[in-house]
Amino acid sequence: AQSVSQHNHHVILSEAASLELGCNYSYGGTVNLFWYVQYPGQHLQLLLKYFSGDPLVKGIKGFEAEFIKSKFSFNLRKPSVQWSDTAEYFCAVNEGNNDMRFGAGTRLTVKP
């Protein structure tokens, strides 16, 4: 079955530490890839997305993600996290125009 796996359930970092959140998917064909973020008390919102082209994608607030097709991965990175990055992060994948699948999410806690 098609699935999206996020390796870390809860990550705790200190401010200025580097972040990498893993995401792997099991789709075999062409995919569109997304990272969404949900800050405490707020809606889910888009952080970044990849459809085609440069596999290194830059998003808002200094986040980036790299699509590695051979590894079916789309890991999220940020070189230096801030307390305001505390949130839940969801990786999502769709094939074409439907069947969006979300990972279980990774809760990030940044200690000031």
Binding site: H43, K49, N94, N98, F102, A104
Partner: protein, 113 residues
Amino acid sequence: EAGVAQSPRYKIIEKRQSVAFWCNPISGHATLYWYQQILGQGPKLLIQFQNNGVVDDSQLPKDRFSAERLKGVDSTLKIQPAKLEDSAVYLCASSHPSWDTQYFGPGTRLTVL
């Protein structure tokens, strides 16, 4: 630009009762989605509409869940009768075009006692 609106924000019902949720997507967005998010899990797609037609309802428990989008704009999701395991946040999202970014509403938190 107004975002996706949902109501109510919270709902508490007893099992076997019925409940309905309402969603108004972003103006001009042809594609509308309903998701169920159980605590500790990612959103699970229940149903996807393109205008007023259903594109994907493969994960909708059709014995108790129903959804409609009669005029291709607003949508309602109904549960009848509710079970304890239906306790979750119900998210509505919209997009245009369908394969691009989905914009989410605030969700309705349903508690079934």
